[in-house]
């Protein structure tokens, strides 16, 4: 099953099971079913709770927060994650703050879905991955869709947190299949440790390096791992968390032995360089595993640049599997 279908089914299941859930967004009604068809079929089955809105991201997020405040649950679709900037005040200054700024905890079950990422030629304002702008906001959690985590579980978890959550969804990942139980391909297996998908060489020993990436980069990371194994004889491990923030891999007991035995930790992400999620994760690793890490954590991100439209220019700016491969080689041997 492709990731988009998994996410669509998760929304169908959620609306079917919980009559307090609303879905709001632009152009999400059938037969159109949303710009990326993630909401396909929802409005026909749940016409009163799947609501198409005007082009008003601030009002969509605010109205969703109002629903949550009144005891409902809300899932918002921001057509392109870039436009979450238009809802920044409602997300950061209202929904997230409201959880704690009134003295006693105010439940705010609210998910803001953000289709993100490039590689599709949509240009500078329709290709970004904006996690870094929402990092470290008290009362706000960041999640990302992965090919490992069933999205129904992810949606249930976010709503149960009782605080607003952003769900980043890589647009290319939509078209890729979910990984079946246990196997990534003929070389690699995967398992869950806490909420982190751990990909390892089947029957392998200690990894030469370990990658940590959000779900949107999972396939590029696996592709890099194959090349590094087959062409450079380097065995790698890969960690893909469901929740990106807060995220503290060195605080997960089941991951510490792996991180301690690895030759290099490399954190890769699609956000542009500077003030990134990866820097935050690396700072945590350096602090918590200072006596154990063999080398400084290597960082990979998109260039500190706008994301160009033309395919050859876009490719130079965004993270490719080859970017990850080079970073690992340089980290280990550079």
């Amino acid at each position: 099953m492709r990731v988009a279908e998994n996410l669509n089914r998760a929304l169908h299941g959620l609306l079917g099971d919980d009559p307090s859930v609303y879905v709001l967004g632009e152009d999400i009604l059938d037969p159109y079913g949303g710009a990326f068809k993630i909401t396909k079929g929802l409005s026909e089955r749940f016409p009163g709770r799947v609501l198409a809105t005007p082009l008003s991201e601030g009002a969509i997020a605010g109205a969703a927060a109002g629903l949550a405040l009144a005891g409902e649950k809300a899932v918002v679709e921001i057509m392109f994650g870039d436009f979450a900037a238009l809802a920044f005040d409602q997300i950061v200054n209202f929904a997230a703050k409201s959880v704690t700024m009134y003295g006693r905890r105010v439940p705010m079950p609210l998910v803001v879905r953000c289709p993100s990422g490039g590689h599709r030629g949509y240009g500078p304002t329709h290709s970004q991955t904006l996690q870094k702008h929402f990092l470290g906001v008290p009362g706000l959690s960041l999640f990302e869709v992965t090919p490992f985590h069933d999205n129904r579980g992810v949606l249930d978890r976010m709503l149960a947190l009782g605080e607003p959550c952003l769900l980043f969804e890589d647009k290319v990942l939509y078209t890729r299949p979910m990984y079946g139980e246990g196997a990534v391909d003929e070389l690699f297996t995967w398992r869950l440790v806490d909420d982190v998908a751990v990909v390892e060489l089947a029957g392998g020993g200690d990894p030469d390096y370990t990658l940590i990436v959000p779900g949107g980069l999972a396939h590029r990371a696996v592709s890099a791992m194959r090349t590094l194994l087959l062409e450079h004889d380097l065995a790698g491990a890969l960690l893909v968390p469901s929740r990106l923030h807060p995220f503290d891999p060195a605080g997960v007991p089941g991951l510490v032995p792996l991180l301690a035995r690895t030759g290099l930790v490399c954190v890769a992400e699609d956000g542009t360089a500077g003030g990134t999620w990866g820097e935050h994760v690396a700072a945590g690793l350096h602090t918590r595993l200072w006596g154990t890490l063999r080398r400084p954590v290597a960082l990979v991100s998109s260039a500190a640049s706008v994301i160009p439209t033309a395919v050859h220019l876009e490719r130079e700016v965004l993270v490719q599997d080859t970017t990850i491969r080079s970073a690992v080689l340089e980290g280990l041997h550079g």
Partner: protein, 293 residues
Amino acid sequence: MNGLADEDLALLLLIRCFERKLLALFEQGELNGTTHTCLGQEYVPVSLRPLLRDSDWIFSNHRGHGHYLARFDDPEGLLAEIMGRKGAVCDGVGGSQHLRRGRYLSTGVQGQSMPVAAGVALHLSRHEPGALACAYIGDGTWGEGAVYEALNLAALWRLPLLVVVEHNGIAQSTPTPAQMAGTVAGRAAAFGVRHHAIDALDVTAVRREVAPLIETVRTDPGPLVLEFRTHRLGPHSKGDDVRPPGVRPVDWYAAYRAAHPAQSARVEAAARDRVERVAAEVAARPPAVWGGA
């Protein structure tokens, strides 16, 4: 001016005395941070008080002490919140402009509450027909895009949203003609939203005028903009009063006192005593304790 029941006048003067006391406490260095008083505008929430129900939600703004006191008659909890003392409505975290109690909520960002109120109104329209969401905003708030996004949504979805505009003619330091092209009425009309302006300062007259309009929000849901042409009699916050000098202030209380001197003197003395007692008692309390996130 029409005579008022003691109860209504007591509430009006409680708000006035409370606000005066806050400014005095600031001058004495007893208060931390900032505050925005509603001197001159007290009659707006007091007029609306019997027209709003417990099941209605109220969204207030930075200038919201009168809104809170008209809803809860709780100067102790409000002053404790502003002073950061035990018994504070929100444990001292929210302060003057971030209050939540039951179905009452205020936020400190202009226009922010309008989409939230629309979302609450959506819930009410589905589950509690007849109840409404009331959002207090000012004339300056009409500069924010959130207002228009929310009005559009509320009109499209026919939501029971009552927008109470306290148009006091000055947005912090900026007079209305310097910050608003056109009018509030014109902007409401552009969205096909009902609008009514109120010039009266007389609580009885205001109630008579707006009661049937508010009832229509309950029976024929859709947004309604009630624009009170009102008058700010004090600074924007504290010590920043830039209202033009030489303009005679329009004060409902001066008019009322002239018409009803004996009742005014009696009720004002009682309100002032009450506020003094509350202030002394709250100031003696230990600091508020925040249970944390």
